[in-house]
């Protein structure tokens, strides 16, 4: 089955992973900007990273006929440095109109601090002023419920934002409802240890239905599995769900959400209806 991974950090993966993803049926991916494992020292460090996301990664993906899309921001972890964050936010427009850049992301909270919240709000302001789509990181483990609640508060307080143009990622059983009920898109992130599993993601599909729901691998430099979306597809099949339902979650939904971005110039694979795109 063809699928799209809507959240995967390919800068952390090898070229072999691109090849494996293509062989597994992946046709496109979106890569949010994130933490590199160390705090960058200057705005130029981010500028170089954004160049990598917008130039080299699409090229590497293209070697295996994969389409690569990306998002720009300073992540929540480095957002603790408000001065640097403001410099990065001021620089981001250099990249937001480039081909393949879908919007602002992954912004969000990490430890749910005041500084993180300030920078999150300033990212929202940039996105609202420019009409950008937004992709959001929510904290993990014990911080998740509190952080996701704070994020939903801030999103709902900004009347300029269209909720159906916002994707809130890493939802789990205790946060998925609040995200969907406010009209946002929700992403379930599958990890090999400690977080959401394919079976629990299928449970959430059964509980909340497939509308505005996606699944991703977040494949990054930590313990993660870039082929987690095919694991979800297999879990759905083993539970007896029809192919049309599976395809909606792993292909149609990402296409529908991303199609709201002016830079989503996606070419469907042969045999896939263009009608899947809005």
């Amino acid at each position: 089955m063809y699928y799209i991974d809507p959240h995967i950090h390919m800068v952390s993966r090898t070229t072999d992973d691109y090849e494996t993803l293509a062989k597994m049926g992946c046709v496109a991916m979106s890569e949010p900007a994130f933490w590199a494992g160390y705090d960058r020292g200057s705005v130029d460090g981010f500028r170089d990273y954004f160049r990598q996301l917008t130039s080299f990664e699409p090229k590497r993906a293209g070697w295996y006929h994969l389409q690569h899309f990306t998002w720009m921001c300073i992540n929540a972890k480095e957002a603790e440095n408000v001065k640097l964050s403001r410099e990065v936010i001021a620089m981001m427009p250099e990249f937001l109109d480039m081909p393949g850049v879908l919007g602002v992301g992954e912004i969000g909270l990490n430890k749910n601090t005041k500084n993180e919240s300030i920078v999150f709000l300033e990212h929202l302001d940039l996105a609202a002023k420019r009409g950008e789509q937004i992709l959001i990181h929510t904290p993990h483990l014990e911080d998740k419920f509190k952080g996701t609640s704070m994020i939903v508060d801030m999103l709902c307080d900004d009347r300029r934002l269209q909720h159906d143009r916002v994707l809130v990622d890493h939802v789990e059983e205790h946060t998925v409802r609040m995200v969907l009920e406010e009209g946002f898109w929700a992403g379930m992130t599958l990890y090999p240890v400690s977080k959401c599993t394919p079976e629990r993601a299928v449970d959430m599909v059964e509980l909340y239905g497939p509308e505005r729901l996606m699944v991703n691998s977040a494949g990054d430099w930590g313990p993660s599995k870039p082929t987690a979306v095919p694991d979800f597809i297999m879990a759905m099949r083993r539970r007896g769900h029809p192919e049309s339902l599976i395809r909606k979650i792993v292909y149609d939904n990402p296409v529908e959400f991303f199609s709201q971005s002016r830079n989503f110039n996606f070419t469907p694979p042969e045999g896939m209806p263009v009608a899947a795109m809005k």
Binding site: L141, K144, R200, G209, R239
Partner: protein, 85 residues
């Protein structure tokens, strides 16, 4: 809520051994904690673990959601006012 294609007996047949293995892992971990030197009886995480085990026995509850909330920090609705944001 979507209709679930598999029946409850089919799900039990499919998942029984996996559930058994997970319960064994929990039992072995709790034994390990008891065997080891020192005590964690007063560690608040032990209380969370025992509350989690109790939540598994609830009927008609959303157990996964309840366990998630047990292991979550509290949320204060007035947070923006407190930080003047």
């Amino acid at each position: 809520m979507l209709p679930i294609p598999l029946t409850a007996p089919q799900i039990l047949n499919r998942d029984f051994l996996e559930v058994r293995a997970k319960i064994l892992e929990l039992a072995a971990c709790l034994d390990r904690l008891e065997r080891a030197d020192g005590s964690v009886t007063d560690d608040p995480r032990m209380k969370q673990i025992h509350q989690g085990l109790t939540a598994l026995d609830a009927v008609g509850a959303k157990r996964a959601e309840q366990v998630q909330l047990l292991f979550s920090l509290p949320y204060d609705e007035a947070w923006r006012k407190k930080w003047e944001l």
